[in-house]
């Protein structure tokens, strides 16, 4: 229970800090929203020309996108401190966390929560969901709603796990920003479209290396049942919500090993 209180305290502090500059926060949120929306609008206009890509229509692709934004809205606040983790190490701000009587990750989670980015991405995600969900023929019942919530949580855990892995790499290498740019941001761009349109290699990376496919593609397949799903084992649809738990647990183990190595070999 104490652990949860510490995390909630971090959130309270983050909100408090942002609320001191209400107008700034609102404007910044709007800026994030507009920036991300501009991307989506550009993609939307391009897609109108094609009508369909691999049997996916525009609304179905917006639905695919909405999952990315909704999950990222949580990730960007929960794991905000892990985004600049290499700076934390380089500037020697990590050692002080070691001597505090709390789990290291719990000290980092929700600390400095980027609520502005969360609000921007979250609003856009919701908007895309509202626009697309009603038009893609999903039959919403108890099971599908439950699956959808599970998939969102799984998606948050998958991306959180990736952030933890990228942060753990900072214990071994000085510069890890480019690894993260390639494997997180570039792959996330790919994940905006049905992965079946890509070369096998990229599909493989999206399924097995940085499993974005389990964040939005396979969960969307459960709800939409497109024909291109025939290319992949059907079970992937059903395990999607659980992949998050596995990725997160593996990332956590890697983190523990890396931290131990960090203070035992000297920093």
């Amino acid at each position: 229970m104490g652990e949860i209180r510490v995390v909630l305290q971090s959130l309270k502090m983050s909100i408090h800090t942002r609320m001191q500059y209400r107008v700034d926060s609102l404007v910044a949120t709007l800026a994030v929203f507009i920036r991300e929306s501009a991307n989506i609008i550009a993609i939307y206009l391009a897609l109108l020309k094609f009508d369909r890509i691999n049997d996916w229509n525009v609304n179905e692709m917006l639905f695919l996108y909405s999952i990315l934004f909704l999950t990222y809205a949580f990730v960007v606040s929960l794991f905000a401190d892990l985004r600049q983790f290499s700076d934390t190490i380089r500037e020697g701000r990590f050692d002080r966390l070691l001597v505090r009587p709390r789990s290291l990750l719990l000290q980092l989670i929700l600390n400095n929560a980027d609520l502005i980015a969360s609000a921007g991405h979250g609003t856009l995600g919701l908007l895309l969901f509202v626009i697309s969900a009603g038009r893609v023929g999903i039959h919403w019942d108890f099971v599908t709603v439950l699956y959808y919530i599970g998939a969102i949580i799984g998606g948050i855990l998958i991306q959180g796990g990736m952030f933890i892995v990228f942060s753990s790499l900072c214990f071994y290498f000085v510069e890890t920003g480019s690894i993260r740019d390639i494997f997180y941001w570039n792959m996330r761009k790919f994940a905006g479209y049905p992965i079946s349109i890509y070369h096998k290699l990229i599909q493989g990376i999206l399924i097995y290396v940085v499993p974005f496919a389990f964040v939005n593609y396979f969960p969307a397949q459960y709800l939409l049942r497109k024909e291109d799903m025939a290319n992949y084992p059907a079970i992937y649809i059903y395990i999607a919500p659980f992949v998050g738990i596995i990725v997160y647990a593996a990332a956590y183990l890697f983190w523990r090993v890396s931290v131990r190595r960090y203070y035992s070999t000297g920093n």
Partner: protein, 309 residues
Amino acid sequence: MLLIVLKDVSKTFRDKNVLKNISLHVAKNEHVGLIGLNGAGKTTLLNVIAGVIKPDVGFIRTYGKESIIEDHQSLRKMAYLSGTRSQLWEELTVKASLQNCMNMYQINPQVFARRLEQLQGIFETEAFMELKPGNLSLGERMRCELVYALLAEPEILLLDEVLIGVDVSIKHKIIQFFEADRKEKQATIIYTSNHLAEVEKLCDRVILLHAGEIIFDGKAERMISEFSPYYRMEIRIAEGLPDLEDLPLEKYRIDSDRITIDYDKQKIETTQILKHLMKKSKIGDIRLYEPDLEGTIKKIYGGREWKTS
């Protein structure tokens, strides 16, 4: 009860032996001054004790734990405060940081309020509560750091160069606080410093670290009486030549109107020398040099020379 035990601890960083065969015991409620020149290995030794760095070889137990940072129960009883590494959250006000501390160390809110009021009184930090650490001077921040470190009433306190940048009046208050603590026997404290005089007042025991080795471990008074180098006095005589033969001086040199005297404070007081000089001569100018740590180290090594920096 031994709270900290190190046996044959060595640590190498990039081919540099930062710590060499360090063995030491610290008993409960002992106040230990860890002194040494810059780069002697003081902070590394403190990091080893805190578990932030693991030694390459050797035996280490703090609170009976090989790695205290992996045991949150024990860690709650230890505070590690550094003049160069802040424990406060840069992005939060000091007050918010202290509240975080309350939550992390599971301090009862009433106890917290009472303790905070008491510490605020000692370190005069009320005015800084709504500010962020970035807006404070080094000394002001250090006082807030001390409040943070002492809130949880730690049983082990590791203080790394905490008097850096603190102005004299506050320095005095901090020293007073820890002197009182020493009498009341509330905590086990290790201070690092490169000022012998600072540590002398606060500690029962002094450990002198040089190039990663312990070259002295014992009472502060013993170190001063046995190894402290001589004080040096340089005088310009305006009139009349003094007679210095009768005084128990270590060494003196007369060079026309300039006299250089090296003396041991155990044998003769500065004022006695001055009184003697003024009997026969008029003093034009005078300069005093206190013995420094470098001199002490050289003396322990048997070298008699020392620098008047």
